[in-house]
Amino acid sequence: MDKVNSQTLLKKGAEASLFLADWHGRRAIIKARLPKNYRPAELDKKIRSYRTVHEPQLMNEAKKAGVPTPKIFLVDMKDAAITMEFVEGKQVKQLLGNLASEKRQALCVKIGELIGRLHKHGLIHGDLTTSNMILNAEGKIFLVDFGLGEKNKELEARGVDLHLMKRALQSTHYDMAGECFKHVQEGYAMVLGARDAGKVFGKIREIERRGRYVDERKQA
């Protein structure tokens, strides 16, 4: 852990801490899943090592699907730490509210396309929020934070994944969430095709009805 501690802490997240580091002359991020002592040690170890193994695998798979993700440099199982490329750019979370309407629309369509490519390739991101998307200077959107992701082609998993995106927009970008999600769906349907995408959208409605206190849910 000494190696990690000697770096500059960028962000202390809930799931992991991000450190800025140097990797043979390149700017790198060390994502370290530090032990969480609120949960029992055995459970903690299981969760941290599971996510540390799976995250880089999913990031590589995502690349194959045509979804930009940071390059992986090193996976350190002992410390549950992943060293990866530092992506220069801005979090979509910070950008979205400041964009002109057409640009925002284009960005949301693009996000939808990326999610579509993941799903088409059998991948689930597991934590689709605008803070997990980085837009670089060339207009490329990188997806990060695959720690809660999985390989899954089921409709249910796709629905939950896209539903998370919708929820993230509603909680963080509430004044434009409806419009943004509509464009995300548009981009998503462009990749998956109207028929398959339609099935996923239907699933989202079903998941919402399953939720707590939803008006649309039928009375028992």
């Binding site: 962000k11 202390k12 997240g13 809930a14 799931e15 969480k36 002592n37 609120y38 949960r39 029992p40 055995e42 459970l43 299981k46 969760i47 597991g126 934590d127 689709l128 929020t129 803070s131 809660l148 939950v160 998370l164 929820r167 993230a168 509603q170 909680s171 963080t172 509430y174 004044d175 998941i207 399953r210 939720g211 707590r212 206190y213 939803v214 008006d215 849910r217 009375q219």
Partner: protein, 338 residues
């Protein structure tokens, strides 16, 4: 209306198995908080039976509250009631009591969102101002924080509520609900003697959690009778609480708020309190937990939230006082927060 110690609000809570009446002064002193719980002979809450209990208990609970507060009904300024979310028959019983009181005394009526009330009573009693709140009860599992006029929902359960998950397991294990000792408390006591962590599903999806798989797995282990009950209770609690703690921490990191508030019936659990205390400290934030008597459903929280709403221009005329069974937290305007 200027908040003073002389202006009084009576709040009626009846969303689920508790019928509660609270009396509060407009400057935030709780004068009375009386309640009666419907305890099913077996199984969970039967809505119609619970409503029958509420109708029968209303008169007694109201009298206890008036006596405790040393208040005459004629001294009241305002009647508040839990308008939703909750079980239809139960909500309607409480609403009927509230409408009758307001009409008879000829004073204003205000409908209150039950989830908002759990957050507001937590803030009033702990001094928290702008927290990330984990609200966990038999009917709700919500991580929320205030932003631009409303309490936003950052995370919630995708299926069952935390309290419901624990209660169902406790009943399957043969534990009994007694007046004053909820099932969760009985389970917590057993869990304290747990030694071995049995692996169970741990399902976090973004900021949401899913508990139904955990309950199924724990229940089927229970039926196999190969594990100590204490170990199972312990393992169930550790897994479920770790999940809600993880999503609360995520919301805390996401929002950068400086306080954590634990509220709702499951807030009484010491182990859950300890877990949240740890994450609060790690993020240099202040941990607050609602006092026990205001953790479970209660009338005082409805009275207090009614005061906040009424003093900021909200009233609910009787013709518009129909109950809202599925009134989500983020649909409620909270004009009393800037």
């Amino acid at each position: 209306m200027k908040p003073t110690a002389e202006t009084l609000c009576l709040g009626v809570e009846s969303t689920a198995d508790d019928f509660g009446v609270g009396i509060a002064t407009f400057d935030g002193e709780i004068l009375a908080n009386a309640s009666s719980s419907y305890i099913p002979e077996e199984g969970g809450i039967h809505p119609r039976e619970a409503a029958r209990h509420h109708a029968e208990a209303a008169d007694k609970v109201l009298n206890v509250a008036f006596t405790k507060a040393k208040v005459n009904p004629r001294d009241l300024t305002l009647i508040a009631f839990a308008q939703g979310p909750g079980l239809g028959p139960c909500l309607r019983t409480g609403a009927t009591v509230a409408r009758a009181l307001a009409s008879y005394l000829d004073i204003p009526l205000v409908g209150v969102n039950h989830s908002v009330a759990h957050i507001e009573i937590g803030k009033l009693t702990t001094g928290a101002v702008d927290p990330v709140t984990l609200y966990v009860s038999g009917g709700n599992t919500i991580v929320s924080a205030f932003d631009s006029g409303r309490y936003r929902v950052f995370g919630e359960t995708l299926d069952m509520a935390l309290g419901n998950c624990l209660d169902v397991f406790a009943r399957e294990a043969g534990l009994k609900h007694r007046q004053g000792v909820p099932l969760g408390a009985a389970l917590e006591r057993l869990a304290a003697d747990g030694k071995k962590l049995i692996p169970l599903p741990y399902v976090v999806k973004g900021m949401d959690i899913s508990l139904s798989g955990l309950l199924t797995a724990a229940t089927s282990l229970l039926q196999k009778r190969e594990s100590r009950l204490e170990d199972l209770c312990y393992s169930l609690q550790e897994h479920a609480f770790s999940m809600v703690t993880e999503v609360t921490e995520r919301a805390l990191a996401h929002t950068d708020k400086k306080e954590v508030l634990l509220t709702g019936g499951v807030a009484a659990n010491k182990r859950l309190q300890a877990m949240l205390d740890i994450i609060a400290k790690e993020h240099n934030t202040k941990f607050n937990v609602v006092p026990l008597q205001f953790a479970t459903d209660n009338g005082a929280m409805i009275a207090w939230t009614g005061i906040l709403a009424y003093t900021h221009g909200v009233t609910t005329p009787v013709p518009k006082s129909f109950v809202k069974l599925r009134w989500r937290l983020e649909k409620v305007d909270v004009p009393w927060i800037k």
